[in-house]
């Protein structure tokens, strides 16, 4: 049942998407042209080429086009959280049998690896063995996504069967994660690390060249199983760390598109300079920066002090002005604002830190600080990551917000490595920024960041909260959306308000201004999705 404001919010999201989609033209009305090389810029270079190990978008953008996956989010509808299609499987994504515990996939007969061999179910099996049941010591970044899987088997060369321990709505989204590239069994048997330094897939593009630090290029695979695709002759993914330079590259037509997202200023500059040679696509983003509070540091072990931290922050106002200079925008709770499990505006306004009356909120914060006897002369330690958008901007804003209630923080900015070392091990910080970015929108799993430290695996706040754990478990064991929503609200209230464990800042907003001759690509809530590039064509 959609309430008034929720409906409006959803309409706004879809309207925004429609603008984006409309600007590129409905796919049916234009015939894709063949040919051309797509040049795009990527903000960072991936450390290795193995999709099963890495979690960075910097691997997806240049290397995803070389590989196939079992199922994927529908590229024609990439903002959907439920629309999945087959990639190397045949037909539609199968419904589970056996009370929701068995999934049987039929594998296509016409998929070839670029090194020549045909793909069979054995390859898919070997791939998922590596992902779900990796040999000791072999890392697998998404092992935890598949805890519900009991076994994977391949009864013949064209069938793969997944048996689950219990029915779970999180299994199919986990399968669709764009990192689950299909590898060849023969190569994995010989050397399980082979794919870390080599690329050999079955996707629409064949690996052509890598120039260290400069670019990765691919060329069209004439044997690709989707006939008539890809439209492009090839692509070149150019690494450019500085954002200003990426924007200039698009402006100077050295690159056509960037797949992560630009702040509003960049979009405005490009539109102003190039007019209708630029098309802008926008979307809510399934990424958020979280305030992680160190529960083991006085005075932040006191729930009153933690509540004061969130009460001080003007999220509604911040959304207005920060969205002008940063890639953040939407005010939301712990669930992705575009998903059915997210809170409505009214529900949000009940939570601490989201009250419509800012003065009241800050007065309450000051009162709590006084009551808890916090030393306001002390400067507290705020740990942040050395990335401009949006870490440093949000960090600077937060410090200003806390200053309004008398709390002084000093920002300690570290490059990624030491930042995580500090966040995970040293725990010298009082408050730190952290992030939660997921590929497929799957709030049931995405909020596992907020469950207790010993269960979560990526909760760095030094806390245990069994009430939150209980709500999380109940939410994940039920298939009824209304029940899920109820437990989500419960978990949200505990985390953000009553127990004040960790806090949401603002959800990100994705703005992709690109050259208008790039067609066929649609924006989605995730910069990990829809990057196979087999649906992209150039109107030149």
């Amino acid at each position: 049942m959609m309430k008034g404001n929720r409906l409006k919010a959803l309409c706004a999201v879809f309207a925004g998407l429609a603008v984006g989609i409309g600007a590129t033209g409905p796919a049916a009305a234009e015939t894709p042209k063949h040919g051309g090389i797509l040049k795009y810029v990527v903000p960072a270079e991936p450390p290795s080429f193995d999709g099963h190990i890495e979690t960075t978008f910097a691997l997806i953008h240049p290397v995803r086009p070389f590989y196939s996956v079992l199922i994927k989010v529908n590229p024609e509808n990439p903002s959907s959280t439920t629309d999945f299609v087959c990639d190397v499987c045949v037909g539609k994504v199968p419904e589970p049998t056996d009370g929701g515990k068995t999934y049987t996939f039929k594998i296509r007969d016409d998929v070839y690896f670029h090194s020549g061999e045909k793909m069979t179910a054995q390859d898919v099996l070997a791939t998922y063995q590596k992902i779900i049941f990796p040999p000791a010591g072999e890392p697998s970044a998404r092992k935890a996504f598949f805890v519900m899987v009991d076994s994977v088997t391949a009864p013949d060369d064209h069938t793969v069967v997944f048996k689950l321990k219990y029915p779970s709505g999180a299994f199919i989204p986990a399968l669709a994660v764009p990192f689950n590239w299909i590898y060849q069994k023969a190569k994995l048997d010989k050397d399980i690390h082979w794919y870390e330094t080599h690329i050999d897939g079955s996707g629409a593009f064949i690996f052509e060249k890598r120039e260290a630090g400069a670019y990765i290029s691919g060329k069209k695979d004439p044997r690709y199983y989707l006939k008539g695709r890809p439209y492009l002759d090839g692509f070149q993914a150019i690494f450019a760390k500085k954002q200003a330079l990426r924007v200039q590259a698009i402006r100077g037509d050295r690159a056509a598109i960037e797949f992560r997202g630009f702040p509003p200023k960049a979009r405005d500059d490009l539109v102003r300079a190039l007019g209708n040679k630029i098309t802008v696509e926008e979307s809510d983003w399934n990424c958020v920066l979280i305030m992680t509070v160190n529960h083991k540091h006085k005075p932040f072990d006191d729930v009153r002090v933690r509540r004061a931290l969130t009460l001080a922050v003007d999220r509604w106002g911040g959304s207005k002005y920060l969205s002008k200079i940063a890639i953040v925008k939407t005010v939301g709770g712990i669930a992705f604002p575009g998903s059915p499990l997210a809170a409505t505006k009214e529900e949000l306004q009940q939570l601490a830190g989201y009250w419509p009356d800012l003065q009241k909120s800050r007065a309450e914060a000051r009162r709590l600080l006084k009551e808890a006897g916090v030393d306001l002369n002390k400067t507290y330690y705020f740990n942040n990551r050395a990335v401009d958008q949006p870490y440093k901007i949000v960090g600077t804003w937060l410090i200003d917000q806390w200053k309004q209630v008398g709390l002084k923080f000093e920002q300690h900015v570290f490059p990624t490595g030491p930042f995580y070392a500090e966040l995970r091990k040293k725990k010298d910080y009082d408050v730190s920024l952290d992030f939660n970015c997921q590929s497929v929108v799957n709030p049931l799993v995405d909020v596992s960041k907020f469950i207790s430290e010993d269960r979560s695996g990526n909760n760095y706040g030094n806390y245990i909260d069994r009430d939150v754990d209980a709500a999380f478990d109940k939410m994940n064991r039920t298939a009824d959306p209304a029940e899920q929503r109820k437990y989500m609200r419960e978990m949200e209230k505990l985390t953000l308000d009553t127990h004040a464990n960790a806090f949401i800042t603002l959800w990100w907003y994705r703005i992709i201004p690109h050259r208008s001759y790039v067609k066929g690509w649609k924006v989605s809530p995730s910069h990990y999705l829809n990057q196979a590039l087999d649906n992209v064509w150039l109107d030149k």
Partner: protein, 297 residues
């Protein structure tokens, strides 16, 4: 005829150009130097009296006035967070001069002592010392700064450490060659013969005679330190938001808004250039006055 320490001291005093007299000569002979000296004094005053001079609080965000062009309200405009650029530049002088002076002073003093010591003792000690200095000279500066920041974190203190370390060997080298020349003068041997301790000779006799290169290095370092701090801040390794610092102002937002709001990038860059310009010119004139023959870089 007994040579007393007083004799030695007076000989040394005669060898030194009196600094007060040098200052007056400076103004007369070097108009450029005088102008730059004035600029330097203005900057120092700006830094010291920043809270009184600056029209706004440099970290106050005026969210309604983000990226405004220079106007009567905000003389140099506002940056992406809506902070007054003029105030940030004035307070930025504080950061720049604080870091600049700290690095220059510590760097040249330590360099002076080390250089003189090395020249004085000579032999194996000198050889070893030279090698150590060579290592620090050859070691890429930015990497050292990166490492220092990665280990100790960002912030003014660590920036000072990161910048001072490469400055020390540069000063030590110059001072050492100067001190080597002085070492040959008989009075040092005489002082040794009289039984003065090493430390006393180094600190009270040799070091003061290396004042000329010391002062020159000091002023050179000032300019270099300010530039280095700007570079480090540009790379994100210097002081952090929301501290006002010129190099920091050029990072991040400046490039992004360079087209629509060029004042964000222009004014801090101008401030840095003017500051370093003034210190370098001043140092040049100082050098010309103190020791016209010393045309080092």
């Amino acid at each position: 005829m007994a040579v007393t320490s007083a004799d030695i001291d007076s000989q040394l005093a005669a060898a030194r150009p009196p600094l007060g007299k040098a200052a007056l000569t400076l103004v007369r002979q070097q108009p450029l130097g005088a102008v730059s000296g004035l600029l330097v004094i203005i900057m120092i005053l700006m830094a010291v009296f920043a809270p009184e001079i600056a029209p706004y609080d440099p970290v106050r965000n005026f969210y309604d006035h983000m990226q405004m062009a220079p106007s009567s309200e905000f003389w140099l405009g506002t940056d992406q967070f809506g902070r007054d650029i003029l105030s940030r530049i004035i307070f930025g002088a504080r950061t720049a001069l604080f870091i600049g002076f700290s690095c220059a002073f510590i760097g040249s003093t330590v360099g002076l002592v080390l250089g003189v010591t090395s020249a004085y003792f000579g032999g194996w000690f000198d050889l070893l010392f030279q090698r150590v200095m060579d290592v620090f000279l050859a070691f890429p500066l930015i990497i050292m700064a990166l490492a220092v920041v990665a280990i100790f974190g960002t912030g003014a203190q660590n920036v000072i450490i990161a910048i001072t370390i490469p400055l020390i060997p540069r000063c030590a080298r110059v001072v050492r060659s100067n001190a080597l020349a002085i070492r040959e003068i008989p009075y040092v041997d005489a002082a040794r013969a009289l039984g003065f301790s090493h430390l006393r000779i180094i600190l009270r006799h040799m070091a003061p005679n290396c004042m000329a290169p010391f002062l020159i290095m000091l002023t050179t370092f000032l300019g270099q330190a300010i530039l280095l701090e700007a570079s480090l801040s540009y790379l994100g390794l210097g002081v952090q938001e929301p501290t006002p610092a010129w190099g920091l102002m050029l990072q991040g937002g400046a490039e992004e808004y360079a087209e629509s709001a060029p004042w964000i990038a222009i004014f801090p860059g101008l401030a840095i250039t003017l500051a370093v310009f003034a210190f370098n010119l001043f140092g040049d004139s100082l050098r010309d006055t103190l020791d016209p023959k010393l045309r080092s870089r």
